[in-house]
Structure formats: C-alpha cells, structure tokens
Amino acid sequence: MTSTESLIDRKQLAYIASQAADARLNVELETEGMTLNIGPQHPATHGTLRIIAHLDGEQVVWAEPSCGYMHRGYEKLTEVRTYPQVTSLVNRIDWLGSFANEVPFILAAEKLMGIEAPPRAQWIRTILFELSRIANVSLFLGDLGVQLGAVTPVFMAFRDREHVLNLIEAATGGRFHPNFDRIGGLKDDLPEGFIDETRAVMKKLRNFCTEMEDLLFGNEIFQSRTRGIGVIPKDIAMQYGLSGANLRACGVDWDLRRDQSLPMAWDKVDWKVWTHPDGDSFARCWIRLQEVRESTLIVDELLKSIPSGPVMAKVPRIIKVPEGEAWVSTENPLGEMGYYVVSKGDLGPFRTKIRSASFNNISIVPWVLKGVYVPDIITILASLYFILGDIDR
C-alpha cells in the first residue's frame, strides 16, 4: 500500500510544486483560470459524457468527468425481467460489442443452474464473442484517428467493420443487438456458408490492421501525439480496476480469456496475450490493434476445429434459476465485464450487479488528466476507450 500511495503523493507533490511555480508566474502576469466544459455534446465524447476541465491557459489544473447523461438503470430493470429478457437488455450496455455482453450473464445463470452449453455452442459463442470484439475495437481504431484529427481511418474502420457486422447479422439476425445467447446454448445454429465467409472477412480485417499500422500507428505525428502521454503506472491501474487493453498496456500480463476456466473455447486454441511496458496512450492503442489481429487469428483457428453436434443443452421450457449467487466476468472488448447475479429461485434475477469495464476505466480520468494539455485530454480519453452505455449502464 505504501509504495502506491507514495507514488501518488510524489506525483501530486511534483504537480503541486509546478502549479505553485505557475501560480507565481500567473500572479505576475495576472492570468486567471478558465473552466471548460467538454461535453455533454462534444465530438470527442462520442455520447454524452461531460468533462469539466479547469484550465490554466491550455493546461489542465484539474478535470473531472460528469456522467449519468445516459443512465438507464439496467440494474434496476433486470429485477423486473426474466432471464431470457435480460439478455436483450444487457446487449445494449456496450453497444458496439453487444454479443460479448450477453455471454457473462448467460454463463452466470448457467453456473447457478449447473448446466453447461454443448461444445458446438461454446465454439460458436467464442467465435461470435471474438467477432464482436473485432467489430468493437476496429471502430475504436478508426475513431482514434478522428480524435487525433485524421479523417480517413474512421471510414476505413466502418468499411471493414461492416463485413463483421454482416457476419454477425447473418448468424444472429441482429447487427447490433444479437440476443443470440440462451441459457444452455444458442438460439440457433450457424447458417450455411458462414465459415467460408468468415475466413474471407478475417483476411480483410488483417489487411485493415496493416493499413492502420501504416496510416496511423507508423505515422510520426501520431506517435508524437500519443507516446508518453497519459502514462498510467501499473499499481495505479490496478487500484482503479482498469482492465482489458488499458491494463495490459501497463505491462500487466492478465487476460481473463486465458486466466480463468470458463466453458468457452479460448483454451482450445493457441494464441497470444499482448502487453506493452509503457502504459501510455500509444501503448493502449497499439495493444488494441494487436488484439484485433490476434482475434482474427483466434477466429480462424476456431473455425478449423468447430465440433458438430447440438447447440442447445436440455433446459426446461420455463427457466427458473436456483437460489444462489454467481460472479462471472469475461474479457470484453472494453475490458473486464462481469455480472454478479443473485437469484432467489425466481423467473428473473433478484439483483444483478453489472460491473462494466468503462466505469472503472474512466474513473481514472481525474488522476490521469492532471497537468496535461487540452489536446491531450482528447488523446487520453480516446485511448482509454469508453462507451457511454458502458459507463452509465
């Protein structure tokens, strides 16, 4: 504990000292601070997040996010819904990777019921999970360009993400909100031609990653904008509960796909967890880029070994989950997404605590934004990557 606190203290002391020096200068120059509201309607917040930034010139003295413009009360809503109805709800938490939201909830319910989906369903779940990760993070890569002033990457991202969405739609019927996961398996099997189509699309996505590397990540301007900006040390990241690529960018080798046993197919294939020692904005973005590519490889591998068989285990027609509590979290596109489901043996959950990744990821913003410049606010926010629905739930 002491080491972490002293680190914060040291940083803050250094910051206070620099502020005091600035303040003396400001007294001489008679400058005064300015409060800048970034959002709720602002191009950089892609949603309705508001950042209150107190500026001294273009430097941030303190900044604080103010969320809740999109609070939908999902934890309350789950309490009046049945288990099948909840999946269509939690779809909308992180709306770019919807399918990934359903999985931990369904797994929690399955855990309470003591059933497990058949292998084919596990495979397809994993494939769709990775597809939604690709759909989500590839849009992040494009959006990153826009936040940094490059207009072209976002269109390339939309172009190639479209193929992934088409795949998800062909399999599940919903482009954004698949609602395909069921307790005990999946709603349906894959349609004909899905496997070949997916292989072709994965190739396109890898090409897209290369393009992004050339267009954005290799660009010296991009590097100078992101390298060394918004550095988050390992222990601070842990304390704030940062997860996913944000945590791995701090050099923590932790991926929930690998580091826990879930009835999913990740442990059936060989893949790699990417980490980066720097902990800055560049590292976070770079990890995400590598993860998209890694995901395409995972999907390719899974498609090779997909078992045949049913996609639905035997479950009663009316699902009542036995009394108990369960916590399941998975490595979602944004980070660790978990559900703490409390059941009282009813048709619906008694209480669901939704632990969404962005809420934790964005709670570090006041810490990390201290002393940066206004343009860096945008870089850091973009690299932390949040989705409003995932913060506010």
Binding site: K76, K111, W327, Y340
Partner: protein, 220 residues
C-alpha cells in the same frame, strides 16, 4: 520510448480450492474475529463476510495480501420488492408477497449488505467480501484511501442505496440530479416504468355472447 514488445506466457494455473482455503486462513489471522463467515464454493468462488467495523481494515489486509486489483464495490438490498414485477391484474385481489429478508451466501443480519470484489492479479483469484450495513445508521468506512478506484463505486452505491461512506472525499451523486430524492436500487423504490402503464398481459378475450362454456378445441 521503449520498443514495441509482447509477452507470451503459458496459460496460468487455474486457482484451486486449497489456494482459496489458504486465503481464508490468511485473512483470519489478519483480521481475527471480524471475519464473521465465509463460504467456499468448490471450483467456483469465495465469499467472505466481515463485521461492519472491520470493513476498512479488511481492505487494508487484502491489499497487503496482494489483492491489488479492485474489481467493484456495490450493495445488495435483501428485502423482496413490495411491488413484484408490476405484472399484476388490477382487477384481481392483491397478491400475497413474501417479505421476509433472506440473505445470500455467507449469511448476514441486516437488510442491506455491502459487496465488493478484489482480485489477486498474479494468482488470478478473486474474493467477494460482504459486510452488513445497519438500517439505522447506514455508514461504512470508505475504501477509497486503500483502493483509489473505490471512489466512484462508493459514490454510486451511496446514490443508489443510500449507504454513507465515512472518509470519502466527495459523495456527490454520479448519475442523478443532486436534488433527486430516494435511492433507486433499494427494493422499496418503485420502478416507475412498470407503474405508469397497465400490464398488457392481462387476458382480454371476450367470451362467446351467451355461449356455452364449451372449451373444447380452444387451443387450436
């Protein structure tokens, strides 16, 4: 600038139940009798209930045991909702609802319980910690000096359940306007969406005009 890099570590060992038992023992030696109850579901997860006064101390102990990763903090209201799911027929007699408070894993004595989860980043094992919150004085010591990330979670819990956190720097509302009254995630807070509109699921099929009550073949 450091070079781009990646690591390739073998799949870590999945934490076993012996590890979890060791954690309970370790925690017991650190906080003693304040560890009120624990539950270990084999191959699943670990629940620990500590006394309200030892909440902060538990956090410190867990931190020093290596549970550095703060996952979430929230609360559970164990009182069954007096409103049900809002799927009642207003014409029918009111349904009887069981309103006994039954706590979940690791027991408890009060209606409100605090629930938090911290994770050991290298052992990949997590602990769910619970603590009772008294109805009369719902204040618990804050975890935010131990886990900086608890700040927002405590704000959220304060707002949604009305639980106070002593030592928290800034317990403003996160989501709701500051003048909002009530604590939405408490079970006695009605969900308005289900109150303002009648349930459409009430069977609305006109019987045969003066017809016989012959039900044969109805379920065509």
């Amino acid at each position: 600038m450091s070079p781009l890099s990646s690591t390739e570590t073998p799949i870590a060992e999945i934490p076993g139940d012996t590890l979890r038992e060791r954690i309970i023992d370790d925690l017991r030696t650190r906080i003693g009798a304040d560890l009120l109850d624990s539950l270990l579901k084999p191959g699943d997860d670990l629940w620990v209930r500590v006394s309200t006064s030892a909440w902060r101390q538990t956090g410190v102990a867990l931190r020093s045991m290596g549970f550095e990763y703060f996952c979430f903090l929230s609360a559970i209201d164990w009182m069954p909702s007096p409103f049900g799911k809002g799927e009642d027929d207003p014409t029918a007699p009111p349904v009887e609802r069981d309103d006994t408070v039954r706590q979940g894993y690791a027991g408890g004595a009060t209606r409100m319980q605090l629930l938090a989860r911290v994770v050991h980043p290298s052992l990949h094992v997590g602990v769910n910690i619970k603590c009772d919150v008294s109805d009369s004085e719902p204040v618990v010591e804050s975890w935010s000096p131990i886990f900086a990330g608890a700040n927002w979670h405590e704000r959220e819990t304060h707002e949604m359940f009305g639980i106070g956190f002593a030592g928290h720097p800034d317990l403003r509302n996160m989501y709701l306007p500051s003048e909002f009254e009530g604590h939405p995630l408490r079970k006695d807070f009605p969900l308005l969406a289900r109150m303002v509109k009648p349930w459409p699921g009430i069977i609305d099929v006109e019987p045969m005009p003066g017809g016989s009550d012959d039900e044969e073949g109805e379920a065509e």
